[in-house]
């Protein structure tokens, strides 16, 4: 267990440096991609036109979008490779996989919200909402990469595939972008900023630490596992990567 002296509370390491870095990477990439992409999707809005002209014109914006897309793709591939390698080598448990429990958790939580149950669902390392976000972005991200490549190289693609693939890719790319934008930019930010438990900001993805109190409330199963294992390896305490704590799991939870 790591204590954060500044807070005077019991803090638990939740995210490794890699995950913090990944989060920053995805923040930057999506910010740029949304600015350059959504302004193209909603090209007829005055704000979009102003933004595009400020960014140096439509051609510039398209190039910025494409090259940022490359970085985003590399990040996404890196994430999957690292996650799969980690699971295969047994370094961490596949905690991000969707299980039956996630569905029962969701129902349980709904009951709790409506006052039919006295406690919320007891979740493991990632609750069903975090998993939902992760998977929508991972799957959506791959869809974006695929359709983005099609839109970047329409002539090459139509050498093999029918021409209608291009407008289909455009529909998918722009609608999926909107979906990811709404989940990410709206829902995720509302949760990470305005949720009463974390307001004014959920800092765990930036510092890597979460309070034990929050762990107990939001991830009780993981906390229980953690506290069972800790006494077995006390030497790990104080290190940046507490032993037994699956710091890097399958995917991030930004």
């Amino acid at each position: 267990m790591k204590r954060n002296p500044a807070e005077g509370k019991r803090m638990i390491r939740r995210f490794s440096r890699l995950r913090i870095f990944e989060h920053w990477g995805i923040v930057l990439c999506t910010l740029i991609l949304f600015a350059t992409g959504l302004s193209q999707r909603f090209w007829n809005l005055d704000f979009s036109q102003w933004l595009i002209l400020k960014m140096g014109g439509i051609d510039n914006v398209r190039w910025i979008h494409r090259y940022t897309g490359i970085f985003f793709s590399l990040g996404l591939i890196l994430n999957v490779v690292v996650a799969v390698a980690g699971v295969v080598r047994g370094k961490w448990a596949p905690t991000m996989f969707i299980t039956r429990k996630d569905f029962t958790d969701a129902v349980e939580n709904l009951k709790y919200y409506f006052g039919l149950d006295d406690h919320p669902a007891k979740c493991d390392r990632y609750d069903y909402m975090e998993k939902f976000e992760y998977w929508t972005i991972l799957m959506g991200g791959f869809l974006m990469i695929l359709t983005g490549v099609v839109l970047w190289f329409p002539i090459l693609v139509t050498k093999i595939l029918p021409g209608e693939i291009i407008p289909a890719a455009k529909v998918l790319h722009s609608n999926e972008a909107l979906l990811i934008f709404l989940i990410n930019a709206l829902w995720h930010i509302i949760n990470a900023v305005f949720s009463p438990e974390v307001f004014p900001l959920d800092t765990s993805i930036f510092t890597g630490f979460i309070s034990r109190e929050r762990m107990a409330r939001e991830h009780p199963i993981e906390l229980a596992k953690l506290e069972e294992e800790v006494p077995a390896e006390p030497a790990a305490a104080g290190s940046g990567n507490p032993a037994g704590l699956p710091v890097a799991t399958l995917g991030t939870s930004e």
Binding site: W43, G115, G163, E164, L179
Partner: protein, 484 residues
């Protein structure tokens, strides 16, 4: 005393009046010979008959008019040299021609060629006389009521004055020997837009007093110079032409560039006509210099409808190229305006709906890759990147003057043409590539169903997802508040 002075003054005035009346009547008194001739020739109905054909001309002289004319002091025999009181030959002239020739000879007994040549109008007649044909003096100047040139205006209106000469076939010869007809058809002038104008409104510098001699290098020079007079009234149109491609060509010294008169004519200037006939006529004006373009246009879907069906909805030259400020259509700026030009009709339901054409064509173009890009290129001024190669607009696929109906978009010829067009900018594209474009169709279950379904799926899925997510947030906050 005072009475006596007044009487003297009155007497003096009466005397003066009598004396001056005397002097005046003496001045214009007919010669004894003229008075003698007029005893017969003032009678109504008196005619002179020609020997050869029995034709006759009136021989009556209005004595009052003659008395007032500049020639009133002359003896009749000063001109009619063959006659004396005692010698009065019958059928003196063989024919009208001989008679006309004789009258001119009579005039020129006093008016020397040098004197005649001094007037630019007459100088031209002298030249033509050498070529065998010229009007004779009495065609314009009434023989017996000849008035002084200046001061003695006998014409009440300027047009009448000018037409007294310009109704005749006469010519102005340019330095390059081009001939310009100076004959004016008054009926033409009066049935057109400028019927209320006076001649000198356009032909400034000319009047009943002045008739300057002007020579031009060529017929074309004359036309270009005369078009300058239009701007006195039509200054707005004139300033517009200064921005036109035609003026640009003219200012480079190419006099073949059209000027006002080339399209509008000179004396027969018509009112602007929006009838089919007027529109057809307009295309003919452009045709004069652009015959090949006209040829293409007349075979196009627009041209055929205009010419064969008298259709008033189809565009004519000026609808796209405008009238006075005609721009160079090969510039990027012009090219960028084309979707809007076509859209004027093709996005207007009242124009194209009756032909079963879709009004979505402009919208679908503007919303697609080329349209969006073009929209931004139009906004991107000097500082921002703008390619030299124009982005595809309507005319790049549909053609310009030779535009034809598309029929069905699946027709192989249209597609084959489209591939060629795509390849101009995308050289590696193959025959599948044009299908990336939805041919102006809005995706529907029958047209591009795949795109329609994908769109529909997101349209249903997105709101459900967002409502679910927001509910989750609200429920969470609500539970938190209740628990506290």
């Amino acid at each position: 005393m005072i009475k006596g002075k007044g009487f003297a003054l009155c007497l003096a005035l009466v005397l003066l009046a009598v004396v001056s009346l005397e002097a005046h009547s003496r001045e214009t008194e007919l010669s004894a010979q003229a008075a003698k001739c007029l005893q017969c020739h003032a009678k109504k109905g008196i005619r002179a008959t020609f020997a050869e054909d029995g034709e006759s001309v009136p021989a009556q002289v209005n004595s009052a008019a003659f008395k007032d004319s500049v020639h009133g002091i002359l003896d009749c025999t000063a001109c009619h040299a063959a006659y004396r009181a005692e010698v009065h030959p019958k059928n003196r002239y063989r024919s009208r021609e001989q008679f006309r020739a004789a009258t001119t000879t009579a005039c020129r007994g006093c008016h020397s060629n040098g004197q005649i040549r001094g007037n630019p109008i007459h100088a031209n007649f002298l030249k033509r006389e050498n070529e065998g044909e010229a009007p004779v003096c009495t065609d314009c100047h009434q023989a017996h009521s000849m008035s002084p040139v200046s001061g003695g205006k006998i014409f009440t209106n300027e047009k009448q004055y000018c037409m007294s000469c310009h109704r005749y076939q006469m010519e102005m010869v340019c330095r390059n020997k081009d001939k310009i007809s100076l004959k004016v058809d008054l009926s033409e002038l009066e049935s057109f837009a400028h019927d209320k104008l006076r001649c000198s409104d356009c032909h400034f510098g000319f009047s009943q007093e002045e008739h300057p001699k002007r020579t031009f290098r060529s017929r074309r020079d004359y036309t270009v110079a005369s078009s300058e007079s239009c701007r006195r009234c039509h200054f707005d149109k004139y300033t517009k032409t200064l921005d036109s491609v035609h003026y640009a060509i003219l200012s480079q010294g190419n006099l073949n560039a059209p000027v006002c008169n080339d399209c509008h004519g000179a004396h027969g200037i018509a009112h602007v006509s929006h009838t089919v006939k007027g529109r057809v006529l307009t295309t003919q004006k452009c045709r004069k210099c652009h015959p090949q373009v006209y040829e293409m246009y007349s075979n196009s879907v627009h041209g055929k409808a205009l010419i064969d069906e008298q259709n008033q909805d189809v565009p004519i030259c000026i609808d796209c190229h405008t009238t006075h400020d005609i721009q160079n259509p090969l510039t990027l700026e012009y090219h960028e305006r084309i979707p809007q030009m076509c859209g004027n009709c093709h996005a207007n339901p009242s124009v194209v709906m009756k032909y079963g054409l879709s009004t979505d064509v402009l919208k679908t173009y503007l919303a697609d890759f080329h349209g969006v890009t073009l929209g931004f290129y139009k906004k991107q001024r000097e500082k921002l990147y703008k390619p030299a190669r124009p982005i595809a607009v309507c005319t790049d696929c549909h053609g310009t003057h030779s535009i034809t109906g598309t029929g069905s978009s699946s027709s192989p010829t249209v597609k084959a043409n489209l591939v060629k067009r795509c390849q101009k900018c995308h050289p590696d594209s193959n025959e599948k590539f044009p299908n990336a474009w939805l041919f102006h169709y809005k995706p529907s279950p029958s047209k591009h169903p795949l795109i329609f379904l994908l769109n529909a799926a997101y349209r249903i899925f997105l709101p459900i997802m967002i409502i679910g997510l927001i509910l989750q947030v609200l429920l969470h906050v609500w539970r938190y508040a209740v628990n506290r």
